[in-house]
Symmetry: C2
Subunit: 196 residues, 2 copies
């Protein structure tokens, strides 16, 4: 591992979705564009590693804490959307559909992976729900078994706080064709049917 | 683009095979493992950018020039394998099947991309073939139209040098099933058939 190309390839394979072959291709591209890509990427990595930190309030990653979402005066502070992960927060933000604040758990409860409530950013959520004038907590965990287990656990945890607890609607996705949808989704959509 | 996370994601999308979604996943993984992955990767990028240079003889990338292949006394200096790209050199080396030296062209001739002979590392090959006691030049360009065009061009170019010019055999790959092979491969394999 003394060869810098091999060390680089080895580190690149640790990125998600990158195997030996992709890592080699990446290393080649990087070495071909040293000044336009390789060094700027190194600088961007260092800059982000230095500047980015978790928001003390919501667990979002940002260059400031509290993060720019938490301090944004245009956002409704009485509405908090609880997500599993930062990628979920980003997905919500891409949609421009939510104008409240967030709370990032950092994962789900998982018996298999041995992740209990103390591993997740849950206590801070209860504190926020008690102190920060939050009226509604939207549980936007994934529609997986683990996501829903976590949502149920949070419902219990937030019972003592004076907040409305809601969850995202389940149903047919936009553009979804019935023939291709699973029975679970169809069942949920039928159960939650609305007047036309 | 002032946000360091966004700058990082933007640079990651410039890597081959990395789109927005993969870049976001990578950025998240990196930010989660700042000390174990993000900073080491930055350092590896800088180390490789600083140390790695093209070999003056063969065009291989290495920390030294002439590269470690060119100076390896166990390798046959009379045998040179011409490859399109560094990735092809790596592929040959992974196979441990070749014990001569290499010559990396840095691409193929391409009318579409406007790449002529002067863009490729060809003159150095002719110099080597004249001066370095090379007896055989193996043209190991890809079995594509452009690769074969380049090989033909090189044959003309090397005519004046006193070297044997060979090319890789074409035929059925190991484990190949006839039913799944294209007619071109089958035709080539039939034409080049050997006594059993």
């Amino acid at each position: 591992m003394t060869n810098p190309i091999e060390s680089l390839i080895h580190l690149l394979t640790k990125l998600p979705g990158v195997g030996q072959r992709s890592a080699r291709r990446m290393a080649l591209t990087l070495l071909r564009h040293k000044e336009s890509l390789m060094r700027p990427l190194a600088q961007a990595l260092i800059a982000a590693a230095d500047a980015v930190q978790p928001c003390e309030q919501c667990g979002n990653l940002d260059v400031r804490s509290p993060c720019s979402i938490c301090v944004d005066p245009r956002r409704d502070p009485s509405l908090v959307c609880v997500v599993e992960d930062l990628s979920d927060l980003w997905a919500m933000e891409r949609g421009h559909v939510f104008r409240g604040r967030y709370h990032v758990l950092g994962g789900t409860l998982s018996a298999i992976d041995g992740r209990g409530p103390e591993e997740l950013n849950m206590n801070r959520l209860v504190e926020r729900a008690k102190d920060e004038g939050i009226k509604e907590v939207i549980l936007a965990t994934n529609a997986t078994v683990e996501g829903q287990t976590t949502a149920h656990y949070l419902t219990d945890l937030l019972k003592e706080c004076n907040v409305t607890i809601t969850r995202l609607a389940q149903g047919i996705p936009m553009g979804g064709e019935l023939d291709y949808l699973d029975e679970g989704t169809l069942g949920a959509a039928l159960k939650a049917r609305l007047p036309f």
